[in-house]
């Protein structure tokens, strides 16, 4: 009788311990999986930035085939004021017809440096965005442009879905941006012609244009306020009396 009671007690204890153990295992598995999701996001951030940075190195040396490889088959490209090009083949054409033959040409520097990349992975885990600066040092002088690009993950590989590169400032070398600045491009400036007109019309420096941020303020979480309607005007910031 006593033995039976003890046996029952022990087996109850063992069963309880087992149940507790398997519950603990389940909890640990959940923790590991949710950590795994966060770790994957961290890896995604690096992989997206690599695609953006790889793009810059390919532009340096006019490696247009390899550059076009970075785009999804139905990706779009819009740079400066040239309008929108649809699909990977037209990305290649924009570069090859518009900018020059394949491969570096001695005497022609076109370093297209990628600075200050700010990637964001969306909650779906398969789309992302990057804001980046292209700081250009070329035979002609300086360039400072923004990229606000979108990426998509297809079969586990991040690639460009939309490349959008509004120009900010281009200038010659001799006096820099003092007054030797170059106007934005436009669809008919040089071939090839775009598939769609520009999505936004704006002027480069000395004028003011801000390409919207794809992210909210990282501290307040608030979306970007619009720029002042007076921004880019000479009257901006002056008291009414002095206008």
């Amino acid at each position: 009788m006593l033995k039976k009671t003890v046996m029952a007690f022990v087996s109850l204890w063992a069963a309880a311990a087992y149940a507790q153990g398997s519950q603990e295992l389940q909890g640990l598995e959940q923790q590991l999986n949710s950590l795994g999701d966060r770790i994957q996001r961290l890896q995604d951030l690096t992989e997206v930035e690599i695609v953006q940075d790889a793009y810059g190195y390919y532009v340096d040396k006019a490696q247009w085939h390899y550059l076009a490889d970075l785009f999804a088959p139905d990706a779009t490209l819009e740079i400066g004021g040239k309008g929108v090009f649809l699909g990977r083949a037209r990305v290649f054409e924009y570069m090859h017809v518009g900018l020059g033959p394949i491969g570096p040409r001695d005497g022609l520097l076109i370093d297209h440096q990628q600075f200050q990349c700010l990637p964001t992975i969306n909650p779906d885990g398969v789309t992302a965005a990057v804001r980046c600066i292209a700081f250009v040092m070329s035979s002609g002088g300086w360039g400072h442009n923004y990229y606000e690009d979108k990426f998509v993950k297809i079969n586990g590989v991040w690639q460009f879905q939309k490349l959008h590169g509004p120009f900010n400032m281009y200038s010659g070398y001799k006096v820099g941006w003092l007054d030797n600045t170059i106007l934005n491009t436009y669809p008919e400036k040089w071939p090839p012609w775009p598939d769609l007109p520009p999505t936004v019309i704006y002027l480069t420096f000395p004028n003011y244009y801000i390409e919207p941020y794809h992210y909210p303020n990282p501290v307040t979480g608030r979306p970007m306020p619009p720029p002042s309607p007076r921004a880019g005007g000479e009257a901006f910031g002056r008291p009414p009396a002095s206008q």
Binding site: V6, L109, L118, V175, W177
Partner: protein, 464 residues
Amino acid sequence: MAVTSKALLALNLMLGLSLCSASFARDEAARLAALKSRVQAMAQETACVEAITKIQTLGRAFGYYTDKGYFGEAADLFTEEGSFQWGVDGIYRGKAHIRELLTRHGGGSMTDGPGLPFGRLNLRMQLQPVVTVAADGNSAHARWREWGLLGEYKKSATWGDAIIEDDYVKQNEVWKIAARRYYLNFEAPYQGGWAALKAVSGDWRSPVAKEFPPDAPVPQQYQPFPALFVPPYDYAGTLAAIQSRAPFDSPQRPDDALGRLEALADAKELQLARTHSVRAIENLQAMYGYYIDKGQWHKAASLFSRDGTYESGQSGVYIGTAHVERALSLMGPPGLAPGQLNNYVMVQPIINVSDDNRTAKARWRSDVQLARDGHGRWGGGVYENEYVNDKGTWKFSKLHFYVTFWGDYDQGWAAKPYPMDPPSTTNPPDRPPTLVYQSFPKLQIVPYHYNNPVSGRPTPGEHE
């Protein structure tokens, strides 16, 4: 009483009889406890790597705000009581004062909202972060480089150069800037550039400080370029910034419920270690750049593994930390010569960590701003580097800087390019150059260590 002791005896007997299974249970309990503490450590490490990326985001977002006159948004990246120390001007406290400080320096408006007037250029590129997160995970530091293109159309064009040292805190799960120390090195007119700058004498506070006095003076005075000043390193004395996890071998796990979880943890732990290593290598390369900037050859060489190699342009290959230091010394005396500028900006990383987290390769770019004997020079080039995980601390096993161009500041690289220096005869390399090539106006495709990241095609270093 007797009953109790009998029962105890029976219990002891039973436990004794099942000794084997008890030891198994004890083993299982120990494995479970070990797994639990591993998961906890992984949670901490994940939060640490997330913190690094969030702090990188803060710094870069700051740059994009100031570029376009969004000074209120930039000030909102600080804590309520946050502070901004500007050059030797003083310390400004609180979001309102920080906003006004940035607005006055950037040419924005306190009344008209975000934006800049016609012709105002305020590009302040935020580059080369070294981020260190404190062990408790609630505070952090970073060093940044600001490269400025400033001015007013038809009135002025100016280069800016500054080092930023930041403290950050996490408040309600949000990282914020708590204190920023902005060490202006120079604002140089485009005409003549930094090489033409004369030493400042006396009070060199900015006009902004005179119109808009700070809340407190700076704790330390210094002189800008051409004087040589090394802004204090927040990471002096700690290697935390360049550490991730030491290489580890995952044991074979038993094929039971717990074993399968252990194997899952092994896989996630390795993936986490590799993402952490990417950030450690970013920090390492940036740290190297900051030491090179200031002629700290010994500190820079200490970032190499014992048999690490160094090669720059056509210098040839130097092997081992002592030879690396000698090679670096070819750039100038320790701490640099008076009036010497040696800025190597570290940007555009493509870092690939090996599957086992033991080694890594990376492509980087440097723009170079030099001044020697009153002459300015531009440079640019690409690194293809290799790294080794030395018991958890990342080091250079190979640094190779391929020069794209050297050019005269006044005339530009296109009008007046310079060739690379041949191997030194006074301090010759251990091996000749691994690749003989010429810099601009010749162009050389630097071999890629990686295949195309999307198509997987190998990219030829020669030509398509």
